[in-house]
Amino acid sequence: MAGKIGEKSLLSPFMAFFAAHCMQLGIGHLTFQSDVAKLVGQDSWIVVCLTGIMFHLVIWMMYRVLNKAQNDIISINQAFFGRWAGNVLNLFFLGYFLLFGGTTLRTFIYVVQVWLFPDVQTWILSLILLLLACYAVFGGLRTVIGVCLFSLIHYVLLPLHLELVPYLHFNNLLPAMDHSTSEMIRATQKMTFSFLGLEILMIYYPWFKQPQKSERWVHLANAATTLFYLIEIAASLTFFSKDQLVRVQWPTLALFQFFRLPYIERFEFIVVTFNLLRAVPILCLCLWSASRIAKTITRIRPSRTVPFFAALLAIFAILLPDYSAINQVHQWGNLMGNGLVYGYIPLMFVLSMIAKKVKPA
């Protein structure tokens, strides 16, 4: 199948960095501090490191499978499990990416509704964001990766944390390793949610020039995410007392409440708006992957499926009324993601080690 993709639409391997990094820093990034601190308090930063290392392992396994088959996961599924069962798995992937996109859309809109405009309707923002996403997806994969550059906005904002230094209590990081192993494992499961998104590379794999070279960029993306989360968790743990952090809805945004400029009293409003922009590339990547899977399974053109999936996402977003519903969906997403990362990928790794040569589908 790799032969079918024209040379012109192929991506450079380094673009894998943007795709992976952008997918990882999604909704999990907004809330992970309180979720993890609830379980392990001051040891949260260790959990962040642990999860980062787990994901390096997952990437390694993922690329062993992909490199051997030199194809995307859609075809690998079909080759391993037969056409019928493979397609059921592919449908699961399709559903997973749509869920990923849908929760991202709804959560980011919810943040805007709480923080900026309580009276804005969900459908208006969904429509705007999805129109933008569809527009980018129709521009082709290269445009989609271009949009991913938006996700780097938070690096520009990171130095603003220096403003917090007078408020930091470094004692909050002590005593280290004060929690049991089972607590750490449970926290790692929670933390996994914030690292999810790399799986999308399994769909994009054949679209890279010399796809095996993209591996190191994905590793780099994961390392960057880990480092970024480490900074965020350290800032949140030292800035808030533990019980306070657990009560905060979005610690990442709350940290920006303390930055003040003479001409901008409330800087976090700008951060919230920037955040909304970060939802667009995630939506693009999800829509593109979903339509790609649909095309391989049913041969329906992406120009038909992308608007259909976008409409599905919009309906999904509108149907989620409040935070408890959104939270519930986060938990499903977390469960599916955990299964995918710690169950499915290792399984595929073992299978591909055993299989002598993958037959072309």
Binding site: D119, V120, I128, L131, L174, P175, D178, Q257
Partner: protein, 362 residues
Amino acid sequence: MMKGVSALLIVPFFLTSAGCVQKSVIDQITLPIVAGIDKGPGSMISVTISSPLYKGDGESKIMNIVSTAASRTSQKAGGILQEENQSPFHYGKLSVTLAGSELAKGGISKALDSTLRDPRVSKLMYLAVVDGRAQQMLEADWSKQMEKGRYLHQLITNNIKSGHLPPNNLHMFEYAWLGQGRDPYLPLVKLQEKKIKITGLALFDDDKFVASLNDEEMKIFRLLVEKTKTGTFEVGLNTDEYVSILNQHSQVRYRMATRSGIPEFTIRVRMKGMIREITAHKLKVTDPYKRRVELELGKSIIDTGEELIRRFQKLGIDPLGFGDFARSRTRHWDEVKWREQYPHLKVTIDAEVNISGTGATK
């Protein structure tokens, strides 16, 4: 061509979608800068909002319109106030909230819930406890030139920056209130003959106002809280000989040792200062004299500090955060056990003052 046309069609959509949220024009909204909360009748909260009114001409350009309403929730009280205000309230600029002492004694957290919940209210907002009723203070006429909220905001800011008031804001209050092994404190303000004065510090047990420090005690308290670079301290050598020392730099460090089960704390305070004033006749500052002043000031820091800590222990409050410090140094720290231990802690202060200069006079 078709693509261009369809892209153009989107433009009116985006233009109209801008009308999807309510507009707020700065001239048509009220931005209260200071609000007060008091205990109302029964279990009600009485909310006072002082809204600025800009007249733009003549002697007094700014006026405050003070209105009060009581209800069970502060949000509803705000709604009642809205009914007598011509333009909608927006709380984004709220910079100071005053709590009446009666309310503060019964617990302040219920009344503060709506402020903590609303992301539009800045976490940098100051909180202060009023010796008396907040409503009374906001209704009194003590600020001719300035809007009352801005006046209070500046008063507190300046006292933190160059006075003796330990830093404080809504976030720090919440931090200490929710944090384990730590209790919050807030500035205590009082209305004195048409003037507002910061008279000391209000100390809290959980969220209840239980005791207060006067401004002399607050000075020493601040030295025990954080690194400082401000403040003037006075030492009496004889009945008519007083020396005033400017604090140039002070550092504080906590240490904990556990012997026989109960933790022992040592607080090490180091201060570098400069003599600013001596009320003695034609005195030349010699080294032994300097040494005497240094020792006297060090002794007064130790005496007052230890006396304060004993008082905290008796009240069972922990504004200095000994518990938090112990938590960070103890594996599996237990708050319940700590509470039992707290009154029996042994705390010693080790203070040393170093006088580096005597000003422009020898």
